[in-house]
Amino acid sequence: MKPITNIEINIENLGFDSGAHLLVKHGLGQISAFDKIEITGQSPEWAAQAAAWCRQHGHDFHTLENNRAVITKCSDKKQRWDRSSATSSEVLKSPSLTLGLAARGAQVEIGGPEFQFKLNKKSEVWSTNSAELYQQAITAQWNANTAIDWSQPQQHSNLLENAVVQLMTYMIENENAALIVPARFLGQLHPHFRETQALLAIQIADEARHIDVFNRRIELYGKSPALSTAGGQASLKTLLDEQDFGVAEFLLSVLGEGTFVDLLQFIHRFAPDIATKQFCLLAAKDESRHVSFGMSHLLEKLKTNPEFKFQLKRSVLARYESLISTSGLNEEVFDALIILASGKMNPEAVASGFKEVQLLLQEMKDGRRVRLERLGFTNSEAIEISSLHTRNFM
């Protein structure tokens, strides 16, 4: 008998309870709607099983003589993928919320749920170098167990140790803010922007590692965490309260973490032990990447929306005003920095340490000014904004 179709499938002894549908599905995948495939098999009552499968999937099924049957493929309108939005893998300016969690470029079936991703505009979240920064971050990941030499016994005074512990205590609360702020935005980010998603995720992992090493450093020579002040926490809370991703990036990464890089380098320089020197240097590199993303993102955002500059300036002013009644930097932290740089408790050493901290503050201020100018603020605007930055550094 002449075959009535070009494609013939023999499912042999395979039943539809054991995967025969895949052979049929594969055959149907090779033909157009309303075309036919011929099927034959040897397993008991395979045709009853095939008929049930076809009914469920909308295909017509007819048995023929000699243990054969014909399946007519259903209309495209009954296919799961008809009218589906086949997105390209390019980054869309405003991806539909119904693309949901799908891989960028995937064919997304119609009728899916609409996800509430608040950050769903490219202009709100994008930075062209995100992918590159993520690759850098992956390569630069470090393991606190192997990258840090925790074995050195304490060779420095208790005075210095107490100063280090106070600084670590202070840095932990700052890093908690630096972890929570991107984590909150990550939950609002449309996964379509996977480069930004990956970068925020690894930024969070960076901060978790920093918090871990700072805690380990506190305990290294048997101490407990020191003082956390109301003013310091009030300053950090303003970062958590910020609802706009761009503004938060500005306050946290460009101004805060940028300043933190200077602080980490300062501690690296004067730390009395090898472990602190090592992890401060590594953490400073991590923080620099966070600053880079914030800068890149804001540069691109300001290019398309120059008015955003005024919002950034207002945010610093508003933060300054809300914190004006607080004490600013923890006095103990400030003193700990001087002790660290002094090394000893005598007038000459303290004078030297004090001078170093003053230089640090100036470096921090200059660094902020330079970054602000790179974002397009004039020199006088940059000086003003930099001077209004929180006294808590972050």
Partner: protein, 291 residues
């Protein structure tokens, strides 16, 4: 006709699973978007639903095939016949299959004479009544039936009895069991049947399943008749490619609504008579039927 009837077309459906609420709430929203004033009432069993249909308390019933057979008889007996609306594509041309263990010695249905045979719910058309008719036709009348009877009055829609029978087959409590053809694959996929360890020994003739049944007064009242037509037209126009309705169709298990037909209920009607389930007027005469 009351003013209430002027504004709403009321459908009865049996709550055989929690998803039934989701389905009909979804349809209610969809009908509303089509400017069709629709509401639904849920019943715990098909018998009460049919009785309500005959009284005109509901205008249509989403009926099982067994419920159609009864409604048709009740309407005829009252001299006010029921009519029908659409059915699902997945309601047409079903078969029930008799499943045995792959390594069993049975080669034909007659080999099961004297053996333990598992059936689904007592009132299941697909897993008891139609199979009984088939076995009678094949002259298999002497055997030990084991009915996995749960949720009476729901006509086996829940498939729980079929599943229990399948589980009993796997632990050799029965030698064979009946199930609707599509459930053979479902139970193999979800592990109730171990894939590759069973085979189909026999299958029934093809039959149809659920169908919208219209109350007797629908064909006599022009306003209700128009409503029923509008209801039918909206259903038939539903497209699987429409994102607004696809999830409803998927929940209800169809790709498209088709014009109804009653040619696929003949086997079941014979089974109902043979098993003395309903009489010719639609009275329930099966004493063991609990719902």
């Amino acid at each position: 006709m009351s003013s209430k009837m002027k504004c709403k077309f009321i459908l009865g459906a049996v709550a055989y699973a929690p998803k039934v609420i989701t389905i009909w709430e979804g349809f209610k929203t969809y009908f509303s978007e089509q400017n069709f004033d629709f509401d639904y009432v849920l019943f715990s069993n098909y018998e009460t639903q049919n009785e309500s249909l005959m009284k005109g308390n509901i205008h249509s019933a989403w009926n099982s095939p067994l419920a159609w057979v009864r409604a048709e008889r009740m309407g005829r007996a009252l001299g006010t016949p029921v009519s029908y609306g659409p059915m699902r594509d997945s309601d047409q041309d079903l078969t029930s299959v008799l499943v045995v263990k792959k390594n069993s010695s049975f080669t034909k249905i007659q080999d099961l004479i004297g053996k333990n045979i598992g059936f689904g719910a007592y009132d299941s058309p697909q897993a008891r009544l139609i199979p009984l008719h088939h076995m009678r036709k094949e002259k298999v009348t002497s055997y030990r039936p084991r009915c996995f009877d749960i949720l009476g009055g729901k006509h086996g829609d829940h498939t729980g009895g079929e599943r229990d029978a399948a589980l009993a087959l796997m632990i050799n409590e029965v030698d064979a069991c009946w199930m609707i053809d599509s459930n053979y694959q479902t139970f193999s996929s979800d592990g109730a049947l171990t894939p590759g360890e069973t085979r189909i020994l026999a299958k029934t003739e093809r039959y149809d399943h659920c169908i919208f049944t219209m109350a007797p007064n629908v064909s006599t009242n022009p306003e209700l008749k128009a409503k029923a037509q509008q209801f039918t037209d909206i259903l038939l126009a539903m497209q699987w490619s429409d994102p607004k309705v696809r999830h409803l169709l998927e929940l209800e298990g169809l790709k498209e609504w088709r014009p109804g037909r009653t040619t696929g209920f003949a086997q079941l009607a014979k089974a109902v008579d043979e098993e003395k389930f309903y009489d010719e007027k639609g009275h329930i005469i099966e004493a063991n039927y609990k719902y």
